[in-house]
């Protein structure tokens, strides 16, 4: 019984391969976009974990030389003899790879090459054997070094015994830092007594990369979910249509003795089989998408957060299982209502498939109510939303509510047009378009979401770009930026600059916690550059004067928002407590900043010696660089001019949004596919509606042209309605989501030309999608149209 019934159910799909293709392709596309994003996130997180287990930088206090350079190994020995539980580390660049030397016997547990492959000689490593560990992607970059593969290690990082590292880096007898282990005895001799040249650097939990990048990944996940939702519209449409067409078959199966429970079970099993097939295809598609986008994401994360992410994609169970899981969940969501209606359908219900329009009539009322409720929730959240989750809830309510409201709104517009139509053809066209609406509404909803997402994201990105370029012009006021290698170079630079009457502005910072937030403190020299160029979002009168006098600080917007700080509030920086005199915009920076006067900074952080400087050069910068190199030995590689640093910053910016732009384009493509598939599947059901018009004298070619015109008209209407939705989306992204995720609020600009171009793309997608079905309709054999009037149909 089961086999026969399952075969009968499946036979529907074999007879309607286009429907099967629509279902599988829609689900595979949706799963592909989702699992692609998940793959990127999983790869990034794995990289953070690998970096954390390899370096563990933030977890332990460290002893470093006051001048920031390497120091003698004898100091380590002296500290150990005095009872200090410390472990030496050497870090350096070897063939572009960060080589870390550890002492395996004293290093904290969990550090170093963990979970190594079978070819590791742990004994040799412990005994100082010349073994270097790196992952498979990094290993080939280490020329002339025997490398063992350890996949847990971060990309671009190699680990070895400290002695081997010293040899390879040419640092014999020198170490860079000492990790201070947690379990120290209570009566240790003072550090200044044994190692006066070393200073203690506190653990920096606040610089945890995974925490900083959470917002970025949440944004990616949200866009993945949006793409998935658009795909699920296709699946819902395909399943709904298939179940609608099979109502007669369902009644027959039950009348012939198939129990309802078995029938529902079989239909569920059928859906799950399709979900599994589409899920596997989707995961493969997701792999391809992720592989294409991962290099840009890696560059973005490196540029924005300094996080090293492997550019190589691995097939990690976490994302391919999540891909399969969401394919199954999406199918159940899309097919749930159809299954429910089958389960509730009386055995003696009408055998003919219900007209979609009739079914849609009842559904439309509920849909409108749900839409109004969701839009009301979004409206309330406009005034109350605070935080990332509330922001995304508002986005979801706004998008889903607007999508649900689309069919009734379109219906009203078409009804109004129909009432004003004068010619018979026009009257028929509008009336027929209304009849088509229920069948096309899911695809049009998908199109509206895709267009709105494009408008919203492009507005956000372009607004960000405008603000960011203006911000760079303000903040990168110095004509030249120089990095020195040591104190001698610094002195030489300052001395030479004095001879050329060039102002030198040190860029020095320390990481601390302010108002519970990870914060960079900058010590800034009193100079007109800051007064003339930095624009405050809010400030007290004479904010810079107070700051440079050591009587106040200025802070960035991120710290003000996250720390709940306003003008006049007191901020504690080390031992000093100073009022906030100004809040400045600081776009692209994930953490808080405090600007202190140079002297106040030096008093608080005496161990920090500036190594970076902004130079106010009047005249030709390249000539100055040439002279500087001749006079001080500071190489051209240590300098970057204003144009160069702006170019680098803008390049990072552009790559940041490559992923979201790509996801948007893919989403639009999915929506175009939804329209194509809807029109193709509806084409067969259209004959009974078109045959009377044909019989009354309308040519097939004209019917075809009107079909095309209808699709274009509906796409234009949808695009027009999507525009305000997209702008609302942009506002939510800029005013709520960005503020919660990054801590800054951007002004919103409008870009009419971009919207017009997007509308053009949507139109093109509609023409391409409707072209084939219209062409097929124009070539429908008269015999097929005649069948509509025959008894046997």
């Amino acid at each position: 019984m089961t086999r026969a019934a399952f075969g009968a159910l499946l036979s529907h799909w074999w007879r309607n391969p286009l429907q099967l293709f629509t279902l599988l392709a829609g689900l595979a596309l949706a799963t592909g976009l989702w699992s692609g994003v998940q793959a990127i996130n999983a790869e990034a997180r794995a990289s953070y974990d690998a970096a954390a287990t390899t370096l563990d930088e933030g977890r332990y206090d460290r002893l470093v030389a006051r001048d920031g350079g390497p120091f003698a190994q004898d100091i380590y020995v002296a500290l150990r003899r005095a009872g200090w539980q410390v472990s030496p580390m050497v870090t350096g660049d070897l063939d572009g790879v960060t080589l870390i030397g550890l002492d395996a016997l004293t290093a904290p547990s969990g550090m170093g090459p963990v979970s190594l492959g079978g070819d590791m000689d742990i004994g040799a490593f412990l005994m100082g054997g010349a073994q270097v560990f790196a992952n498979a992607a990094t290993a080939p970059r280490l020329d002339g070094v025997e490398v063992l593969i350890a996949d847990d290690l971060a990309d671009g990082t190699a680990v070895t015994d400290i002695g081997t590292a010293q040899d390879l880096l040419g640092q014999a007898g020198l170490i860079d830092s000492l990790l201070v282990l947690p379990d120290q005895s209570g009566n240790l001799p003072a550090l200044a007594q044994i190692a006066p040249d070393l200073t203690l650097q506190a653990a920096q939990g606040g610089s945890d990369i995974a925490g900083l990048t959470d917002s970025f990944h949440l944004n990616l996940t949200a866009f993945g979910l949006l793409s998935f939702a658009v795909g699920i519209f296709i699946v819902h449409g395909a399943i709904g249509l298939a179940f609608e067409q099979r109502r007669g078959m369902v009644r027959t199966l039950r009348a012939l003795g198939l129990p309802l429970r078995r029938l529902i079970g079989l239909m569920l099993a059928e859906l799950l089989v399709f979900a599994l097939i589409a899920g596997v295809i989707g995961v493969a598609l997701g792999y391809v998408i992720a592989a294409l986008l991962l290099p840009d994401v890696a560059a973005t994360l490196r540029g924005l957060y300094g996080a090293d992410v492997s550019g190589n994609l691995q097939l990690r169970p976490i994302w391919w299982l999540s891909g399969l899981g969401i394919a199954l969940a999406g199918t159940l969501i899309a097919g749930g209502s159809a299954l429910w209606s089958i389960a509730k359908m009386p055995l003696l219900a009408a055998a003919q498939p219900r007209a979609l329009a009739m079914a849609a009539g009842r559904r439309a009322r509920w849909q409108l109510i749900v839409a109004l409720v969701l839009l009301a929730i979004a409206a309330v959240l406009v005034f109350t939303a605070d935080g990332l989750v509330a922001g995304f809830v508002m986005l979801g309510a706004l998008l889903v509510g607007a999508a649900f409201a689309l069919p009734p709104v379109l219906n009203a517009v078409l009804a109004a047009a129909s009432a004003r139509a004068k010619s018979v053809t026009a009257q028929w066209f509008w009336a027929d378009s209304r009849q088509q609406l229920p069948g096309l509404s899911l695809a049009l909803m998908a199109l509206m979401l895709a267009i709105a997402a494009n408008v919203g994201v492009s507005t956000m990105v372009s607004s960000f770009r405008l603000t960011f370029t203006g911000f760079l012009d303000q903040r990168l006021a110095s004509e030249l930026y120089v990095t020195t290698e040591n104190a001698a170079q610094t002195e030489a630079l300052i001395a030479y600059a004095a001879t050329r009457d060039v102002a030198v502005l040190p860029i020095q910072s320390a990481d601390i916690q302010v108002a519970g937030q990870p914060t960079e403190v900058f010590g800034t020299r009193d100079h007109a550059t800051y007064r003339d160029n930095w624009q405050f979002l809010q400030s007290l009168p004479d904010a810079w004067d107070a700051t440079f006098a050591g009587q106040a600080v200025v802070i960035n917007e991120q710290l003000a928002r996250r720390g709940g700080l306003a003008l006049g509030d007191m901020v504690q920086v080390g031992a000093q407590t100073l009022p906030v005199a100004g809040v400045y915009g600081d776009y692209g920076n994930p953490i808080g900043q405090v600007v202190l006067a140079e002297a106040a900074f030096a008093a608080e952080f005496p161990e920090v010696a500036p190594r970076q400087f902004g130079l106010r050069v009047s005249g030709d910068v390249s000539d100055f660089v040439t002279d500087l190199t001749e006079a001080t030995g500071i190489g051209p590689g240590q300098t970057i001019d204003q144009a160069g640093i702006k170019a680098v910053s803008l390049a990072i910016f552009e790559r940041t949004f490559t992923v979201t732009t790509a996801l948007n384009i893919l989403t639009l493509a999915v929506a175009g596919f939804a329209i194509l598939m809807s029109l193709l599947t509806l084409a067969a059901m259209r004959l009974p509606q078109l045959a009377p018009a044909w019989a009354m004298g309308m040519t097939r070619a004209k019917l075809g042209r009107l079909e095309l015109l209808r699709a274009v008209m509906l796409a234009v209407l949808t695009a027009v309605l999507a525009l305000p939705l997209g702008l609302a989306l942009a506002w939510v992204l800029l005013a709520v989501v960005n503020v919660a995720a990054f801590g800054w609020r951007l002004p919103m600009y409008l870009f009419p030309l971009d919207y017009a171009r997007l509308g053009g793309f949507a139109l093109l997608a509609a023409v391409l999608a409707a072209g084939w079905p219209a062409w097929r309709l124009a070539r429908t054999p008269p015999a097929d149209l005649l069948k509509v009037f025959a008894n046997e149909r």
Partner: protein, 219 residues
């Protein structure tokens, strides 16, 4: 030997104008191999009676005993089993499965019942004049041919009782006569009982007995 006993059967539907008693204490019997025509005006309860006997709907009161089993006491699964193996229903609308080929449609109910006999299906196809159409789909056949497929499908599991609800209602007179000849002949050969709802006095006259319903009661 009595195949079917219907005893004071009642059924009431809720309508917008209040409860409507469509069957009011209907009783009848049918012997194995016997044929009975149910006639009556529209709304007299003929189809409802057929549906109740076929286990497609449940009665409010009364008993239906088929092959010593009381259908009115069966749950949904029991009635489904009855429809699979004991009763065959021929519908006015044919109700073929559009995505299955004719051969598969004919064998379908027998396969559901676990009594698929390919030779018998071939005989049925041959006797119904469908041998040349076995690889076609229902939409490629005329209405008369589709009804012949439906009859073959009903007879394939050799049911004890065949219920036919206006089986020729959708066919022209000539085709209807041919289809009826074939059905009566085959039902007779299988020894099944036949209960047929029809408006046609001519068709009713070809069956062994006739029962007329009026306003939900035997007239």
């Amino acid at each position: 030997m009595t195949l079917l006993t219907v005893d004071t059967l009642s059924k009431t539907y809720a309508t917008a104008d209040g409860p409507f008693a469509v069957l009011r204490g209907v009783s009848l019997t049918l012997d194995a191999g016997e044929s009975l025509a149910l006639t009556g005006e529209s709304g007299s309860g003929k189809s409802t009676l057929l549906h109740l006997i076929g286990g497609l709907d449940s009665a409010d009161a009364g008993r239906i005993v088929l092959q010593d089993q009381d259908i009115t006491q069966m749950d949904d699964a029991g009635r489904a089993a009855l429809r699979r193996g004991t009763v065959g229903v021929v519908f006015q609308q044919f109700n073929l499965i559009p995505s299955l080929k004719i051969a598969d449609n004919i064998a379908f109910q027998a396969r559901l019942a676990g009594r698929h006999d390919p030779d018998w299906c071939a005989v049925l196809a041959d006797r119904m004049g469908l041998t040349d159409h076995l690889r076609k789909y229902p939409e490629q056949l005329s209405g008369g041919q589709q009804q012949r497929v439906a009859i073959a499908r009903t007879l394939a599991p050799r049911p004890a009782l065949v219920l036919a609800d206006e089986p020729t209602g959708n066919l022209d007179e000539g085709t209807a006569a041919i289809v009826m000849d074939m059905m009566l002949e085959l039902v007779s050969e299988t020894g099944a009982g036949l209960l047929m709802v029809t408006h046609s006095q001519a068709l009713a006259g070809r069956l062994q007995r006739r029962l007329h319903l009026r306003a939900g009661q035997v007239a």
